[in-house]
Symmetry: C2
Subunit: 375 residues, 2 copies
């Protein structure tokens, strides 16, 4: 059994090129996770997900506690076997989704009671139960249960919220089942306030987690503020621990966050966009439903090596979305995940080569060009 570990092989200013080892294999960083919320990457087979280069999948405690229940997943041999994903899996704690998806939430020091968004049934999520669920799922990286402090919170609100999350983090660490090849991350909160972010990092470092989730960002504060928070938060973290920017983000968000020292990302953007006709391309993004693509024989992105761009025209994809054919979502999701994984490959290569600033400049130059001219 491999111990849970993180090794850094190269740096370029604040950016880090690393590798995380787990009981279910390794993943290269900076990485973008495959979002498999309900134990499936929407509209993708596992084989296609792998083909994009994804090595780490993220599943969700909230969704899986409601359906099919962690006890059932455990009885069926754990999440890896259940969803046929043999690589490492990270699970979110469920806290964010309880607050954003469920009804009639009541939170106190003990935990949160809520009604399922599926059938209205009543459930309780506590730090202890969240850890138990993630253990039953056989998650390789367990995230602490925290409260995602809302955007716009006052300093007092943010302090109260963050300190409760830190008390919960202690409870999470206490009940975490330590095993070879399995890790647990604390989550930094503190909204946009430097003193609170530093206090949160110090609390988590004292508890001695295997990595840091950076929470409470990419929730409407804007990219400039988000980057500012990273700038003041990351210097006080223990450098040898991986840093995971939760729920982020756009390609531009990722590029800037990697420059600031983030190692791990997850976001629904490439998969959700793949189902709503938005494609990420080197020169920005396009909506394949637009009439300008209806007769266009060119691929979504002529520089892209994904199967969608190798085999299909914009006109065909436009047709599939107009007819609401499932294959449209399948092909465009595959393209978008390939785009994100390719971005991560290029970022890793640039860090290794020590050319990250040049890469980022070229990235922004391309993005600013906008889509190719219509035929």
């Amino acid at each position: 059994m491999t111990a849970f570990s993180f090794s850094i092989s190269a740096t370029d200013k604040k950016a880090r090129r690393g590798r995380v080892s787990t009981a279910h294999g390794t993943f290269e960083t900076p990485c973008f996770m495959a979002t498999a919320t309900a134990a499936t990457v929407k509209a993708m087979t596992v084989e296609s997900v792998r083909a994009t280069g994804a090595e780490l999948a993220i599943c969700n405690t909230y969704h899986l506690m409601l359906r099919p229940t962690p006890e059932r997943v455990a009885a069926l041999g754990g999440l890896h076997k259940f969803m046929n994903w043999q690589g490492p899996i990270l699970t979110d704690s469920g806290g964010y989704q309880v607050m954003s998806l469920s009804a009639l939430r009541q939170m106190d020091e003990h935990g949160v009671v809520f009604q399922s968004h599926v059938d209205g049934s009543r459930h309780e999520l506590t730090p202890e139960r969240s850890m138990e669920i993630q253990y039953l799922l056989d998650s390789n990286i367990t995230m602490c249960l925290d409260e995602c402090t809302k955007n716009g919170a006052t300093h007092e609100e943010a302090a109260d919220s963050m300190r409760r999350s830190m008390r919960w983090a202690e409870r999470c660490r206490k009940v975490f089942n330590r095993r070879e090849g399995y890790g647990q991350f604390g989550i930094v909160q503190g909204s946009v306030y430097q003193d609170l972010r530093e206090e949160s990092v110090a609390a988590l470092s004292a508890i001695d987690f295997d990595g840091y989730g950076i929470g409470g960002l990419a929730i409407g504060e804007g990219q400039e503020m988000m980057f500012n928070v990273l700038d003041v938060t990351l210097p006080s973290t223990i450098p040898a621990r991986p840093r995971y920017m939760m729920g982020c983000g756009t390609p531009s968000d990722i590029v800037g966050s990697v420059q600031r020292g983030i190692d791990m990302f997850d976001c629904v953007m490439p998969t959700r966009s793949g189902r709503t006709a938005k494609a990420f391309v080197r020169r920005g993004s396009i909506n394949i439903r637009n009439a300008r693509h209806a007769a266009d024989p060119r691929p979504v992105d002529e520089t892209c090596t994904c199967p969608t761009c190798q085999n299909y025209s914009r006109a065909y994809l436009h047709h599939l979305f107009r007819c609401e054919e499932i294959l449209g979502a399948m092909l465009l999701t595959h393209h978008n995940l390939h785009y994100y994984q390719n971005l991560m490959r290029e970022l890793r290569g640039a860090i290794e080569a020590g050319t990250l600033d040049d890469y980022v400049a070229a990235f922004h130059e391309n993005q600013a060009k906008g889509d190719i001219e219509a035929l």
Copy 2:
């Protein structure tokens, strides 16, 4: 360029084992086509469709004339390139779908005027236009425009309807663009009346088509009546021409029709069922949504070699359908198409071995068993 041809390599009583050659390759018969109505097999990649063993795809004139239009498909290089299907393609004439899907239909000797089910726009379909559309699509097997006589028609209604279809068949043959590797099939009508079916076959044989579509069946007349019609219709066809049973059917329908001398089949059943949680198995069929599968670690069919049965439990598929995850439709459609293609492989093997009766007896014995016991 290969000429369009049909060769029979073995027979077992009335059943035939053959091969059709086209400009885009060959397909073995008896065959089941991959249903790609709007230029996509719903919820399947082309690679997955191929992996099931499908060699011939069927697309639809009605759907493609509305979106994206045959002129656009032609401008983009034809249907094979458009949908990335390099094998042979058969196109239905659109007549059946005009009558079943569109609004405000008016049919006369000239053709049919109708409103699109998509946007209400007015369109006309005539024998000549249907042939032009199928030519623009670059279809390897063009079907004549006919009227699908409704189930329960009187002898007089069926005679009038069939004779108009035969006059249309003459018009279709007249304008068909004859090319190496491309064929055209007439469609036998005549409802359940032996004299009319024989008259229709004689009319089509005189026109000298490359094969026979058997139309107006599998529309509610019941399996016994359907088999009776085949028994009285097929003996008068030219034996060296392929026989295509249109829009049929259940596994049992196919087995009985192959015994009676049918060479080609198409049906939405395996794909549509794959999206509505019904799986075809050796012992009948199951609905994966049923609670009895919720915790079942076994595959859909333990005797099946498809990727779905090799890698996923009934419990996982149940979970995907409960959560309305697209992967559920993808995996179950793949299984169902594999089931149908495997059935065709076994039927072809049994004809070659001269053991079709034994095969069919074992088939029905297995089907009668019902699903495996719940755990």
